[in-house]
């Protein structure tokens, strides 16, 4: 084929491909003009897969259908965010009307893209005042740049589990409240075998242990990851350096990073009876509210208790705070029955009785003010600790991001190096980290 003809054909092929490809991403438009009193079938997709959890969801749906006989709900469980994204992108009759996600980091994208419908008009229509219903922290991680496209569907809060027998043995009367107490108690609780290896560590702070990710521990300092302009400010915030320094001190107080990292590899699976706290290889342990139930069901051979994680000495008045995360739920932008979908979403997230029953059933923290105060809530003191953490105004969740929490992984990577002593100049490293986070965020903006 002569060259000019080849070029023309190639250009035409590329232009054609561009036209075909550019048409493959067009979110379908739904409707909020439906009458929620008319018979309708809704599709609800969620991520729970455990048998007891799925039963709890199904029971909730049964209660909803009893209240709204005209609305039938078909549930699909064990659905991942990728599947939800694909379904919402494709649209059509089989796409869900109500969706949920365990990944709060994706809320930014759901809101900014319009894939999850803005819920403010629905709340306004039905008289739901979100500030009076949900704690501010929960509203923060379910909205993005002022757009409330999701609501919290129960939450997880993180605190400290401690071995009371070990505390008694070490002569410690109560769980630590400040970081200096934390370091001192951790060192006191550390026990070694005759050959020098660990029999028990006071608290294994290593960021890669179970739920110990840096963002969770950093919540005790109450950090601000971004300034008002959305620029990363970890280098400018002195708390970042304090946190990373405290981590190194915690490690050094118990034998150093390398020794504890090696000890960490001897721990069993987090969700098994061989986990470090269960086998008494650690006297203190960071975890979510579900651990209490596991300790009871696993018949722990020691007396244990729960408390909030310690806070920095200069912020002692914030003791009681912790890291929060949770499940989020919203309405698909492409749903043709958005008012009916709102009725289901409102029932699942706002109805006090429903929220309390669901929280008790799956042992999660309720996500509304009324449910958090409800007398019907599980009275177990260990669980109550986590309710209090969730209610604490100083508790923090991660700010939403437009790119699935890329800034969190960047921060985690840096923190892994810092705890291993691989960052000789923390200030310089944090400045580079900020620049990286800003570049990643800029790359995600259209």
């Amino acid at each position: 084929m002569p060259r000019p003809r080849m070029r023309i054909c190639l250009s035409a092929a590329l232009a054609g491909a561009g036209l075909i490809l550019s048409g493959c991403a067009n979110p379908s438009v739904g409707s909020d003009r439906d009458d929620p009193t008319q018979p309708v079938t809704l599709k609800f997709w969620h991520g729970w897969s455990n048998q007891a959890e799925v039963k709890a969801v199904d029971d909730s749906i049964a209660r909803f259908e009893k209240l709204h006989p005209n609305i039938k709900v078909e549930t699909v469980n064990n659905v991942t965010d990728e599947t939800v994204n694909q379904a919402l992108r494709a649209g059509g009759d089989d796409a869900p009307d109500v969706v949920s996600s365990f990944t709060t980091n994706n809320v930014g994208q759901y809101c900014s893209s319009g894939m999850w419908a803005d819920l403010d008009p629905f709340m306004k229509k039905t008289g739901v005042e979100k500030e009076k219903v949900f704690p501010k922290t929960f509203l923060d991680y379910t909205s993005y740049q002022g757009k409330q496209c999701a609501l919290p569907l129960l939450a997880d809060s993180f605190g400290l589990y401690y071995n009371k027998d070990a505390f008694k043995e070490a002569g410690i009367e109560r769980p630590p409240r400040t970081m200096s107490e934390f370091k001192r108690d951790a060192a006191k609780l550390t026990k070694r075998k005759p050959d020098g290896s660990y029999e028990r560590a006071g608290f294994v702070p290593n960021f890669r242990l179970y739920q110990n990710s840096p963002d969770r521990l950093f919540a005790q300092w109450g950090p601000a990851y971004f300034d008002k302009k959305g620029k990363a400010q970890l280098a400018r915030d002195p708390r970042t350096k304090q946190f990373l320094t405290t981590q190194r001190e915690l490690l050094d107080a118990q034998g150093g990073y390398a020794a504890l990292e090696k000890f960490r590899t001897t721990f069993g699976d987090e969700m098994s009876s061989q986990s470090s706290f269960m086998t008494q290889k650690a006297a203190m342990h960071l975890d979510g509210e579900w651990r209490g139930l596991m300790l009871k069901e696993g018949k722990a051979k020691f007396d244990w208790g729960s408390a909030p994680l310690p806070v920095p000495d200069d912020q002692a008045d914030t003791y009681g705070r912790g890291y929060l995360t949770g499940t989020v739920a919203g309405i698909a932008h492409g749903s043709k029955h958005q008012n009916a979908a709102w009725e289901l979403l409102r029932f699942l997230t706002v109805d006090t009785d429903q929220v309390v029953r669901f929280a008790n059933a799956i042992h999660n923290v309720p996500s509304t003010f009324a449910a958090l105060k409800s007398p019907k809530l599980d009275a177990d003191p260990a669980f109550r600790t986590f309710i209090d953490i969730a209610r604490n105004p100083h508790s923090q969740a991660m700010p939403p991001s437009i790119n699935g929490g890329q800034y969190i992984t960047a921060f985690q990577d840096f923190a892994y190096d810092a705890e291993a002593g691989k960052v000789p100049d923390l200030d310089k490293g944090l400045r580079e980290l900020d620049a990286q986070i800003d570049a990643d965020n800029l790359q995600s903006v259209n």
């Binding site: 092929a13 991403a25 894939m115 179970y210 990710s213 590899t265 001897t266 790359q443």
Partner: protein
């Protein structure tokens, strides 16, 4: 001046127009050819041509898999090459695995093949024993290896420590993580072993007999008889090995996640490549960028980089025959 008279060429004449019947015949021939080619053409277009075009197209677009794509020029390319610190380690790890893993797999596969073909009794048992691990699903095999090589509780380290050998951290040590993955791939060498066995059994026996009569020892027999006969198969193993290793994903991802001990749950974000990005390969980065960070453009750039490298290496190997076959004129 040439002494040899060149025969006179006939004068060039304009081609005569073909008769309609002849044109129809040619058209039928073309259509028949296309008909026979069509299964491949359809497969190629749907599973290679279109995805490749789409990847090139999206590499110049901002596309978060939800909103309409928008043209951003070279922004994604600039981001990958200048603002993505993980690109370097991922590419290095991938190329390291390509060089080390492929070389060792070929050497081991050939070694085991030779061994099994030489065995006089119990051939069936040894063939099965060496082939079976290859049938284990990659995820299951990786889980087993991470368990066996656990630096704290794994039986391998307990044995090593019992006999006084300092035990490495395997998947938990950045220096040992890639060698551990290589060990895992060598354990599943059964596929290459079978291919090499077939090649080795195809070498004519008379050539060995002739070599023995000429007084050739074991090494000389391998060097001058076996090797020339199996070089095309070695080349096949190298080329397919390079292409497969360029796409190395599952084992590295599973090993990294398991060894790190991080549990996935609400609010958990995981960067693959534990420990210290030592097991991060380009395909893992593509997935992470594309489906965790919704950065389709950058993921497409990375995919194209991988494609170009794989094409270049394969072309080079095919051209030079990897020094195994005499290059064609």
């Amino acid at each position: 001046m040439s002494l040899v008279e060149s025969p006179e060429r006939p004068a060039a004449t304009a081609p005569r127009p073909k008769a309609p019947a002849l044109r129809r015949k040619h058209l039928r021939q073309r259509l028949r050819t296309l008909g026979f080619l069509s299964p491949w053409l359809v497969g190629f277009s749907v599973f290679f041509g279109y995805p490749l075009l789409a990847t090139v197209y999206f590499s110049f677009m901002h596309y978060n898999q939800i909103e309409q794509p928008s043209f951003v020029g070279l922004r994604n390319w600039k981001y990958v090459f200048t603002q993505m610190p993980l690109f370097g380690p991922a590419l290095w790890n991938t190329l390291w695995l390509v060089v080390v893993m492929v070389a060792l797999r070929v050497v081991f596969g050939l070694g085991i093949g030779l061994l099994v073909t030489k065995i006089k009794s119990g051939v069936g048992f040894f063939r099965t024993a060496f082939y079976l691990p290859y049938l284990a699903p990659p995820v299951a095999a990786t889980v087993a290896f991470v368990f066996l090589l656990n630096p704290g509780t794994g039986p391998v380290n307990e044995i090593l420590e019992a006999v006084g050998i300092p035990a490495p951290g395997w998947f938990n040590d950045a220096a040992w993580a890639k060698p551990s993955l290589v060990m895992l791939s060598l354990w599943g060498i059964g596929d290459l072993m079978v291919i090499f066995m077939a090649a080795l059994l195809d070498v004519p026996k008379e050539q060995y007999e002739a070599a023995e009569l000429d007084g050739a020892g074991a090494w000389a027999r391998f060097r001058y008889v076996t090797w020339p006969s199996i070089t095309p198969i070695v080349l096949f193993a190298v080329v397919t090995g390079v292409v497969q290793t360029m796409q190395y994903y599952t084992q590295a991802l599973v090993a990294g996640k398991l060894a790190s001990g991080v549990t996935i749950g609400p609010g958990t974000v995981i960067q693959p490549g534990y420990p210290d990005h030592s097991t991060l390969t380009v395909p893992q980065l593509v997935y992470s960028l594309g489906f965790q960070n919704f950065n389709t453009g950058a993921a497409c750039v990375l995919s194209l980089v991988l494609f170009v490298i794989a094409m270049a290496v394969t072309t080079l190997l095919m051209r030079k025959r990897a020094g195994l076959l005499p290059a064609e004129d």
